[in-house]
C-alpha cells in the first residue's frame, strides 16, 4: 500500500541524467514547469512531451515508475478535469440535464490534465534521478546568494535533507507498525470515516514516538561529532560543473525558446 508513493524516492541506476549536477536538474525542472504554463497550444505540448520523453529515455528509469506516482494525484486530476469541463462558459457542444460541456471547457480540461500530469512526471524525473543529499546540496548552492539577505540557507538545506532522509525511514517504520497491528487484528481499511480515523491511533502513536526517538538520537549523534552549521563548513564533494552540465543547460534553454516560439508566438 505504501509502495505506491514514489515522490521523493530515488531510483538507483547509472545514466546521463543521474550524473548531471543537481543544480542543472533543479533549474531544468523549474524551467520545464514554467514552460508548461507558457505554452497554450497543441504544438507546444507536443514539444513538451517530446522533451519529457527524451529525458525519461535518457534517465533509464522505467516509465511505469513515473506513472505510479500519478496514482496519488488521480483525485486532484479528476477534480480539475470535471470542474473545468462543466463549469467553463462558452460555445456549448453537448448538454444534458443541467450540465453542459463547452468547447472552451473541453479544451481547458484537457490542457489542465496534461499540464498536471507533465508537472508531476517532470518533477518525479528529478527526484527519481537525484539522491536527496545531492538535491539539497544543489539547492543550497543555488540559494547561496540569499545569504546576503541573512537567509539561513545552510540551515534550511540541512533541515530539508534531514526531512527527505527521514521519508523512507518513516515509511518503512509505518509499514512495520502497520503490519504489527494488523497481526494483532487491527483493520485499517473498512468502516466509516470516523472509524477509520480512530483506527489510525494504534499506528500514529507508535510512529510519533519513534520519530521523536529518532530525532533525539540524530541530534545527539550530530552533537557528538561537534556539528555546527553555517559559516566555514567545507564540503567533502563540492559541486563542480562539468562539460555535460553546460550542454544540458544549453539543451534546456533551447527547449524553452522552442516552447515560447512555437507554443506562444507563432500560433
Amino acid at each position: 500500500m505504501l509502495k505506491d508513493i514514489t515522490l521523493g524516492q530515488y531510483y538507483q541506476t547509472d545514466s546521463v541524467i543521474h550524473r548531471l549536477d543537481p543544480r542543472v536538474k533543479l533549474v531544468s525542472t523549474v524551467v520545464f514547469i514554467i514552460s508548461l504554463f507558457i505554452v497554450d497550444n497543441f504544438i507546444g505540448y507536443l514539444i513538451a512531451a517530446a522533451f519529457l520523453f527524451a529525458v525519461i529515455k535518457l534517465s533509464k528509469v522505467p516509465f511505469s515508475f513515473m506513472v505510479r506516482g500519478m496514482k496519488s494525484i488521480l483525485i486532484l486530476l479528476l477534480f480539475a478535469v470535471v470542474f473545468n469541463l462543466f463549469l467553463t462558459p462558452g460555445e456549448v457542444l453537448v448538454s444534458f440535464w443541467k450540465l453542459k460541456i463547452t468547447k472552451e471547457g473541453l479544451r481547458l480540461a484537457v490542457m489542465m490534465a496534461v499540464r498536471l500530469m507533465f508537472l508531476i512526471i517532470g518533477s518525479s524525473v528529478m527526484t527519481l534521478t537525484t539522491t536527496p543529499n545531492h538535491l539539497t546540496d544543489g539547492l543550497e548552492k543555488l540559494l547561496n546568494p540569499l545569504k546576503v539577505f541573512k537567509v539561513p540557507v545552510h540551515e534550511i538545506a540541512m533541515m530539508m535533507s534531514i526531512a527527505l532522509r527521514f521519508i523512507p525511514i518513516l515509511l518503512e517504520e509505518t509499514d512495520k507498525i502497520m503490519k504489527a497491528q494488523i497481526a494483532r487484528g487491527a483493520d485499517f481499511e473498512s468502516g466509516n470515516l470516523f472509524k477509520k480515523a480512530k483506527s489510525l491511533v494504534p499506528l500514529l502513536v507508535p510512529l510519533f514516538i519513534s520519530a521523536f526517538r529518532r530525532a533525539n538520537d540524530l541530534a545527539t549523534a550530530m552533537e557528538a561529532r561537534c556539528y555546527r552549521g553555517g559559516e566555514h563548513r567545507t564540503k567533502m564533494k563540492p559541486l563542480v560543473y562539468a562539460k555535460r552540465d553546460f550542454m544540458a543547460y544549453a539543451f534546456v534553454f533551447g527547449y524553452l525558446v522552442l516552447c515560447i516560439v512555437f507554443g506562444k508566438i507563432l500560433f
Partner: protein, 282 residues
C-alpha cells in the same frame, strides 16, 4: 492441522532494478505442537517467510495452506487466521500505543470482537503468562523497562490465543539475562499450552537449547531442515554461510578427534558434561 508451504517464491520490488528474491522455492510442513527454530543470516529471508504464514505478505508464486485451506484464496478470513497464527515482530515494544499496559494487551482480543469480560480475562491471563506483575497493569507501557515492554508486547499477541506463535528475533537488543528470561518463558509457555512455536533468530546458541527442529535459511532458500543435532553436524557448511554451531558442538568434535568416544550430536552443556564423564569413566 498444520501449515504447509508449497513452492513459495517471493520477490521484493518486482519489475525494478532493485528486484531481488527473498524466498526461493520454499517447501515446508509445520505440524501442530512443534518447537521450531528458524535460523539465518540477516537478509536470508526468514522475516519474509514468517510474514507469509499469517498472510501479511502474499507469495509471488506458490501457495500456503493453514489447516488445509489456501490462505490467499478469495474470501479467506485473514483476521481469523491472524488470531490463530500470532506473529510477534522484531522489537515488538515499538508497537505499544495505549495509555496503560492492560488496555494495550486488550487491543488484540478487542479486534476479534469478543465481549468485554472475555477480553479482560484473556488480557489478564496473557500478562500472567509472560510474567508481568499486577502492579504494572495500570502503568503507561512507555514507563517500563525494555525487557518488560517486550513481554507486554508478546502478551498482546498471546491474548488472541493463537495456535501458532511466531516470534521474530524476540531477544534482539536484550542483555543476556533478559534474553534467557524471555526464552525460558517461551519454553514454559509452550509446555503449558502445547502450541506450535516458531522462533526466528540468527543465533544458534539461543535456540539450540529449546527447539526440536531447526530450519536454516541462506540467500532466500531453506538449506537445512532437521533436528538440531543433525543440523549442527554440518557445522562446516554452517560456517560457510556465516552461521556457527553452538560452542559445545565444536568441543565435542575436538574431543572426538582426540580419540574420546563422545556423541557429537550433543547441543547443551549439561548433556555434554554427562557424556564426557561417561566417556572418561569408560
Amino acid at each position: 492441522m498444520s501449515i504447509i508451504l508449497d513452492h513459495v517464491n517471493y520477490i521484493y520490488e518486482e519489475d525494478t532494478t532493485m528486484a531481488y528474491p527473498a524466498l526461493t522455492d520454499v517447501n515446508l510442513v509445520i505440524p501442530d505442537g512443534q518447537f521450531i527454530g528458524l535460523i539465518g543470516h540477516t537478509g536470508s529471508g526468514k522475516s519474509t517467510l514468517v510474514q507469509h504464514l499469517n498472510g501479511l505478505l502474499k507469495p509471488t508464486s506458490g501457495a500456503i495452506y493453514y489447516n488445509g485451506a489456501d490462505i490467499n484464496d478469495e474470501g479467506y478470513d485473514k483476521k481469523l487466521l491472524r488470531s490463530k497464527v500470532g506473529l510477534v515482530f522484531q522489537y515488538p515494544e515499538h508497537q505499544l500505543f495505549e495509555v496503560d499496559v492492560f488496555s494495550d494487551v486488550c487491543f488484540g482480543p478487542k479486534n476479534l470482537g469478543l465481549d468485554k469480560k472475555e477480553i479482560q480475562l484473556r488480557a489478564y491471563a496473557a500478562l500472567k503468562q509472560v510474567g508481568i506483575a499486577d502492579e504494572y497493569f495500570y502503568q503507561s507501557p512507555f514507563d517500563l523497562s525494555g525487557g518488560q515492554k517486550r513481554r507486554v508486547a508478546i502478551a498482546g499477541v498471546l491474548a488472541m490465543k493463537p495456535e501458532v506463535l511466531i516470534l521474530d528475533e524476540p531477544t534482539a537488543g536484550l542483555d543476556p539475562k533478559g534474553r534467557d528470561e524471555i526464552l525460558d518463558q517461551i519454553a514454559k509457555l509452550r509446555e503449558e499450552t502445547g502450541m506450535t512455536v516458531i522462533l526466528v533468530s540468527h543465533s544458534m546458541e539461543d535456540v539450540a537449547k529449546y527447539v526440536d527442529r531447526l530450519i536454516v535459511m541462506n540467500k532466500s532458500r531453506v538449506v537445512f531442515d532437521d533436528t538440531p543435532a543433525a543440523v549442527f553436524a554440518h557445522y562446516e557448511e554452517l560456517e560457510q554461510i556465516g552461521l556457527a554451531a553452538p560452542q559445545i558442538t565444536y568441543i565435542m568434535q575436538a574431543l572426538r578427534e582426540k580419540g574420546l568416544s563422545v556423541d557429537t550430536g550433543i547441543t547443551t552443556v549439561t548433556e555434554a558434561k554427562e557424556a564426557i564423564l561417561k566417556a572418561l569413566r569408560g
